[in-house]
Amino acid sequence: MRITTLLASAAIALGLVTAAVAEDTTKVGFVYVGPVGDGGWTFTHDQARQAVEAEFGDAVETVFVESVAEGPDAERVLTQMALDGADLIFTTSFGYMDATNNVAAKFPDVKFEHATGYKRLHPNVSTYSARFYEGRAVQGHIAGNMTESNIIGYIASYPIPEVIRGINSAYLHASKVNPDVEFKIIWVYTWFDPAKEADAAKTLIDQGADVILQHTDSTAPHAAAQEAGNVVTFGQASDMSAYAPFPRVSAILDEWGDYYIARTRAVMDGTWESVDTWHGIGDGMVGIGEITDAVPANVAEEAMAMKAALADGSYHAFTGPINKQDGSAWLAEGEVADDGTLAGMNFYVEGITGEIPQ
């Protein structure tokens, strides 16, 4: 009895100590659109959250809520986090855009970071996104070299600028090394339906594609490729190394960790301000997964060289001359695309067949 009482009072004392420490800790909240176990988009954001925890240890406390529907639920969860004393909140889905700005208006002392959006209506809102198209360029280069049937399959989610940009970038660089290359694009109209992704991959393979690129998050296309035997795939969002060295020969990685750590540090230092970040390979937000031995050494070297050029800014993935699909000129020789056009990209470049569904 005495011991338990003792323990209890010790626990209370400890609790008080932690409570006192809590005053000094920086609290960072994360709102996720999917479950942390989705193995893709939300999974990578949660990895980054863990990176923040690992970086700062006890100085930072992170909290998260998963599977939050866009709309009023998001607004409520954001408010709740702000009320609970969060200093910085990352909202990791495009659909949280208005909710983020609404809540930011009510909590001017809390900093908000919204992923993939464009609205910064208040000084305490930043937006950030990744130039995944840079990764697509490297991927396109490898894909163009690897294909023997000259048919590259592309599994696309919804016809939005982010996805179209990726298709264009991959196509430009694949056709640069292999002018005969043809893209077969299947729109699955879902962010998440592994079975449908599997079907799309199998269809593309049945139609002769020997390289599959995907803008969806599951490993289903890799499994389909493995079964087919001689089809190349690339990891998406996470490394998907379970399928390396073949069919998965490389990957585009979502690496939010550095950014999250930097922004958290800015809040701790008091140097945080509203910015619009669009980081690529150079700033470490887009990673290229290890290129396996299945890729010829010279191709891998070229790919790494391109990665380096993209990283140091000496090369832009959209460098003219580039025409639009209808043949009209878009970029002149040596001209590079401006971010505004890229952000709202709603056209294919010349050479891609098919139409963007409307």
Partner: protein
């Protein structure tokens, strides 16, 4: 646009595989509904089957053992539904929906440590020379054991319902539970067994997705297949062979849609994706003329004192 890239033989082989999860789940649900019970929890049972099968296959290294575990998992979950609707006489629609909610949550909890793992693969059966016969080989002799099991299940359920005493009793219970009770049949026991059978089938259907079609584990990965299975039973007007036909039709429309896109045909994807449901409604209307189609006691609660 180049339609010649579409290989009809490969398309048929692909749709057979794509349709198998729906086929398994729908065949199970058919038996449940033939016994007069409407279990809307198919999605929940499928996803629980998907993770049970995945986990056991990974732990044991045997995909077949995984399928067995999936059947057990689905059946156990369905027992919860059976308890609610048969013992405590709760409403079937609400219980089924609650079962789906519960199943989705439960599967995610079980699956937390299985994200990103590659399961052992179930090989296709080797039919030797038969597999090399043109057309017939790829269509009929290039699949895995579970796919054939699904086909056999349809045949077995058909024969059971049509020719056996068990089938007769099951249908009697589904058509008019009061009369069946008066004849001395154990309505609650029969329905409970039917529900468990449905759960086992749904569980295997789920495992087909997590072990063969995708194969990986992610939360919520069945993505609404269970609801399609429910639609299919109605589409099939509660007849096993029509379930098969319907499953291939559903699978076929999806496959064709993907193939047409790959061939560069601009198609309105959303409207094509609607079409199976619209077709089902049309079929329902046509079937309505035949009043005998739906089991008479479907969805109604039975209690001996009624």
């Amino acid at each position: 646009m180049d339609l010649s890239v579409i290989n009809p033989i490969l398309l048929i082989a692909a749709l057979m595989s794509a349709a198998t999860p729906i086929l398994l789940a729908a065949t199970g649900e058919l038996v449940v509904e033939r016994a007069g019970v409407l279990n809307l929890g198919v999605e929940g049972m499928m996803i629980v089957g998907a993770i049970c099968g995945f986990a056991i296959a990974v732990e044991s290294g045997s995909p077949l053992f995984g399928f067995f575990a999936a059947a057990v998992g689905g059946a156990l979950l369905s027992l919860l539904f059976a308890f609610l609707t048969q013992v405590t006489l709760a409403n079937q629609v609400a219980s089924g929906l609650a079962l789906t909610l519960f199943g989705l949550g439960l599967s995610a909890l079980i699956g937390q440590s299985y994200v990103g793992i590659k399961p052992p693969r179930l090989p296709d059966l080797n039919f030797g020379l038969l597999g090399d016969v043109p057309i017939i080989g790829p269509v009929l002799f290039s699949h895995n054991l579970i796919l054939y099991f699904g086909l056999a299940l349809v045949a077995a359920v058909w024969a059971m319902l049509k020719y056996t005493r068990v089938g007769l009793v099951l249908r009697a219970v589904g058509e008019n539970h009061d009369a069946a009770h008066a004849l001395g049949y154990k309505v609650v026991r029969i329905r409970t067994l039917a529900i468990m059978f449905g759960g086992a089938c749904a569980g295997m259907g789920g495992a087909y997705i997590s072990l063969i079609r995708v194969p990986q584990w992610t939360e919520g990965m069945t993505a609404g297949v269970g609801w399609i299975a429910l639609a299919l039973v109605v589409f099939a007007s509660w007849k096993p062979w029509r379930v098969l036909l319907g499953a291939y039709l559903f699978g076929g429309i999806t496959q064709l849609q993907l193939n047409l896109q790959g061939a560069g045909v601009a198609i309105p994807v959303e409207y094509l994706a609607m079409s199976p449901y619209v077709i089902t409604i049309v079929v329902l209307v046509i079937l309505s003329a035949d009043k005998s189609a739906a089991p008479g006691s479907l969805g109604r609660t039975f209690h001996a004192s009624n």
